[in-house]
């Protein structure tokens, strides 16, 4: 079988700085795979990339229906890319429903590639179109490329002995072939991928590659189709991998465990959009990882508490509803003063809410969603790649300070991907848990390190240091049950002080772009890419706008007031009704905070942010 792809030759080439593409189709059309393949190829060929899959909660909704549309968006660039892009330069719509759901995001004058075979009466009805948009002139603002993809694919595969359904299903590779041609991307990585993925099904490999080639060749024959090039981005000299935030999170824990000389234990229960972390860590038995799928969320964290007591780097992963279920056990971990990391990959709430959509509305739950005075460390990752760093740091803090840590990510950065610069153990800081392995004179379970206020970690099986810990208030030294009023107040305050002291172990707050000026944009967590891009654009226009983005939420980093006081105005932008803004009002009431909020289950667009920030500028 030949896998030659003809070189693009005679077409004039246009160089682009960046381009945003969305593949959209039925949830069974293979759009996630198509998008991932395009991303991988673009990245391997030197572009910076950032992706955002947008898929329905239904696994296989009825074919052609509006709620069954699955999309995968990617921005590729010849320069640094921090978001999956706002508006689309190219939309590939595999059916009318995909067109209907996604057209609003296509730029005026943008390109639309559609599979005309799917625009039949039934599909149009399912998509609630009264007339065929390909014929009624409603697409006149776009460059519409009408391709009978299904029939062309089936025709090309007619001699391959596979069933009819599999032939039709290969049309996503046809579409991918066209897009590869359009941007001049060598399809060799996808060919490699297909050969590996279907290595025991040579006919399927052949069909997919043939469809890919047919799409590529078909694109060449289209007169109206331009040829683009997105050049290599400069940062690509280094070694990197394209990973999602969830994978990065999982890897951060793997690295932290090994760095600390411990084994990793994950107790978890499947929940969208956090399940990928459990699935990823299930692969690493070779590193003695125990990825325990528990009977429920509560057992997930409870088993992790047991494992932490028994000497593991113990973590539990979940999303908002699961964090609610874990809150009592999290209080126990606060009381026991054991190391534990809880990951909340936030999704739209309340209740079941929007399981597959993103939001930042669990901040207050993470901070305060427990009974009693129950301080936990709260961290937030700001991008898919940053999730690696923050999972590592969450582990380091939990282990060295003997405290539960909640790491907030979200569906957007959990499922989104970008290049992560490869880091090895030698590149990472040391982790030194306060283990006590031999009896020392007069040791008591709640003796504390004066610098961190952390108690010693004594693992069952250690002779001579037997002790009991529990959820009842305990004597400040011995850990025995104590109902003494003064002792309780002392213990409440020292648990708080232990968390507060962590501010001395984390980097102080810094700003980007400007350290003083007219407006300071404040954000936290997964909105970083959009905020950074927006603030960058304003600075290019000569505006004095700074960005202060928080990875550390409890405790806040040092230097907040020094940063804030240098700006005339402060705006806090977040995907909720203002939870971080209100937290800042509590912690730093001396400043006035403007807000920009969005609660649509979607990330910020750069455009809306620029508009919102400009309103505050003279």
């Amino acid at each position: 079988m030949t896998t030659e792809f003809k070189k693009r030759t005679d077409k004039p080439v246009r160089h682009l700085d960046q381009v945003t593409i969305r593949f959209a189709g039925d949830s069974g059309d293979g759009m996630q795979l198509t998008g991932t393949q395009f991303t991988t190829s673009a990245a391997m060929l030197g572009n910076d990339v950032f992706t955002f899959p947008n898929y329905p909660a239904e696994i296989r909704a009825p074919q052609g229906s509006l709620y069954g549309v699955s999309g995968f968006q990617v921005q590729i660039g010849a320069k640094n890319i921090d978001t999956p892009g706002d508006k689309l330069d190219l939309l590939v719509a595999m059916n009318p429903a995909a067109l209907k759901k996604n057209l609003k995001d296509l730029k005026k004058g943008g390109m639309l590639i559609v599979d005309t075979d799917a625009f039949n009466k039934i599909n149009l009805q399912k998509a609630k179109y009264e007339s065929n948009p390909l014929e009624d002139g409603s697409l006149k603002d776009y460059l519409v490329v009408q391709v009978p993809m299904t029939s062309l694919t089936r025709e090309a595969l007619k001699d391959i002995p596979i069933d009819s359904k599999s032939k039709t299903r290969s049309k996503n590779m046809f579409a991918l072939g066209m897009v590869y041609f359009l941007y001049g991307k060598d399809p060799k990585y996808t060919v490699e991928f297909l050969r590996k993925k279907f290595k025991n099904k040579p006919d399927i490999v052949e069909a997919n590659i043939k469809a890919l080639q047919t799409g590529w060749n078909y694109a060449e024959t289209l007169e109206l189709l331009p040829a683009f090039v997105v050049d290599e981005a400069p940062h690509h000299a280094k070694e990197y991998k394209i990973i999602t935030g969830n994978t990065a999170t999982a890897w951060g824990f793997l690295a932290a465990a090994e760095k600390a000389g411990l084994k990793l234990f994950l107790g978890s229960y499947p929940i969208t959009p956090a399940t990928d972390i459990l699935q990823e860590l299930s692969k690493y038995r070779a590193l003695d990882v125990i990825a325990f799928q528990a009977e429920d969320e509560i057992a997930g964290i409870s088993s992790a508490i047991g494992a932490a007591f028994a000497g593991k780097l113990a973590i539990t992963t979940t999303s908002g509803p699961g964090l609610a279920l874990k809150s009592e056990a999290l209080g126990l971990a606060v009381m026991l003063e054991i190391p534990l990391v809880v990951v909340d990959v936030q999704r739209g709430g309340p209740s079941t809410g929007l399981p597959t959509k993103t939001e930042q509305a669990d901040l207050m739950q993470a901070l305060f969603g427990r009974n009693g005075e129950s301080p936990a460390v709260i961290l937030a990752a700001k991008s898919p790649a940053d999730a690696f760093k923050m999972a590592f740091e969450a582990s380091k803090i939990a282990l060295e300070h003997m405290t539960p840590v909640i790491l907030l990510t979200d569906g957007y950065i959990g499922n989104g991907s970008e290049p992560w610069t490869v880091q090895r153990l030698k590149d990472l800081p040391e982790i030194k848990p306060p283990l006590l392995k031999e009896p020392v004179e007069n040791w008591k379970p709640y003796h504390r390190d004066p610098e961190t206020l952390a108690r010693k970690w004594v693992i069952p099986g250690t002779p001579g240091l037997e002790h009991v810990i529990g959820g009842l208030e305990k004597d400040k030294e011995t850990g025995a049950i104590s109902y003494e009023p003064e002792n309780h107040e002392y213990m409440v305050k020292i648990r708080q002080a232990k968390v507060d002291k962590i501010a001395g172990f984390i980097p102080p707050l810094e700003t980007e772009f400007q350290s003083e000026g007219e407006l300071l944009v404040v954000g936290w967590g997964g909105t970083y890419g959009a905020l950074r891009t927006a603030v960058g654009q304003l600075n290019e226009k000569g505006k004095k706008v700074g960005l202060a983005h928080f990875n550390h939420i409890n405790p806040l980093p040092k230097g907040v007031e020094k940063v804030f006081e240098k700006f005339d105005k402060i705006i806090v932008a977040e995907l909720n009704l203002g939870q971080f803004a209100n937290y800042l009002r509590m912690k730093h009431p001396e400043f006035r905070y403007e807000q920009y909020n969005k609660i649509q289950g979607l990330p910020f667009t750069v455009e809306e942010l620029v508009k919102a920030f400009e309103k505050l500028l003279k």
Binding site: A314, L425, P463, I469, G471
Partner: protein, 327 residues
């Protein structure tokens, strides 16, 4: 390093003052277990006691071992984490009927299903004691409690039935006032490879006094209970003249010497039979109430499966370090 293995029960007593009500069976359970531990032949630092919430769950504080006093219902889940993390530890779950059969029911059945090597001691007093007298999932229909002043309308669980239904491999039942029987059973439960559940019929002197007296009173207990032992005929009674036979699909009490019944006709207890049907019939009997180790079927445990699989994966994996993943 401690190498002393010859312990007495005193080596397992903590310096904490025991704070159960005077006359509570919990004292008998505590002492019986403290007496059983030296017989298990393990260094004391290898024992971990995990409890939930309730009267029973104060237990770990009274032991001079590693322990966690957890939260309501979650002891089995916490203990599962301890045991998976370190399969060299002997892990005991100390729990009650409210803790394990109500709020912690899910963890309880899943621990049994998974067959992880835990020893679950279920203090069943058919009442909520620590919250001062509400009905529990094992309270009888009609039982008057503070939340059922006109009588309880909720049918109870039979813990043995629930456990065997959840595929428990080891189930034993013992009277709360039977110190000797308890010690023996705790040793057997510890020796058993897999989740071992021991239901202790624990009398709550304050809120449900006499719940078990039909079976535990000295005067009647020999007539009303059958203490089974593997491989021995199921004979009971003060004069050892009564026994169980299978009559169709029912267990039936017969008297040896009457109607031509001889000892050879009496069922011989087979605790090791994987088929749970007869074990289920035994746990359901009320008169006689069956005590002793009713079911003990050893299989490969969860942690054995885990370790075996991990070793296999390791043997063929190129990944020896995090660095190998990213390389």
């Amino acid at each position: 390093m401690t190498t002393k293995i010859k312990y007495t029960f005193k080596d397992f007593q903590s310096d904490q003052e025991v704070r159960w009500c005077p006359g509570c069976d919990d004292y008998v359970i505590l002492r019986s277990l403290q007496k059983a531990l030296p017989l298990m032949n393990r260094p004391k630092e290898k024992f971990v006691f995990v409890s939930g919430i309730g009267c029973s769950s104060r237990f770990p504080y009274y032991m001079d071992n590693y322990g966690i006093h957890g939260i309501h219902g979650r002891a089995a889940a916490i203990a599962t984490g301890v045991r998976l993390a370190n399969p060299d530890l002997s892990v005991f779950v100390i729990t009650g009927d409210g803790d394990s059969l109500a709020i912690g029911g899910n963890h309880f059945i899943h621990a049994l299903r998974r067959d992880i090597n835990l020893n679950i001691i279920l203090f069943n007093n058919e009442i909520y004691g620590l919250t001062k007298g509400q009905f529990s999932p094992t309270s009888k229909i009609g039982q008057k409690t503070k939340t059922s002043p006109y009588g309880n309308t909720q049918p109870p669980f039979n813990p043995g039935e629930l456990a065997i239904g959840a595929d428990a491999r080891f189930f034993a039942r013992v009277a709360g006032n039977d110190a000797k029987g308890q010690t023996e059973i705790y040793v057997q439960a510890h020796a058993f490879k897999g989740t071992a559940l021991v239901e202790v019929l624990q009398n709550c002197v304050i809120f449900n006094d006499g719940a078990y007296k039909f079976w535990t009173d000295k005067n009647v207990r020999d007539e009303h209970t059958l203490f089974v032992e593997h491989g021995k005929p199921m004979i009971f009674g003060k004069n050892r003249d009564k026994g169980l036979i299978l009559d169709g699909l029912q267990l039936k009490t017969v008297t040896i010497g009457q109607n031509g019944i001889t000892e050879d006709d009496i069922l011989v207890h087979d605790a090791h039979n994987p088929d749970p049907v007869l074990h289920m019939m035994l746990v359901r009997l009320k008169n006689p109430l069956v005590l002793g180790v009713i079911r003990a079927v050893e299989e490969k445990t969860l942690e054995e499966r885990e370790i075996e699989l991990t070793e296999q994966v390791k043997a063929r994996s190129r990944i020896k370090s995090f660095d190998d993943i990213v390389s």
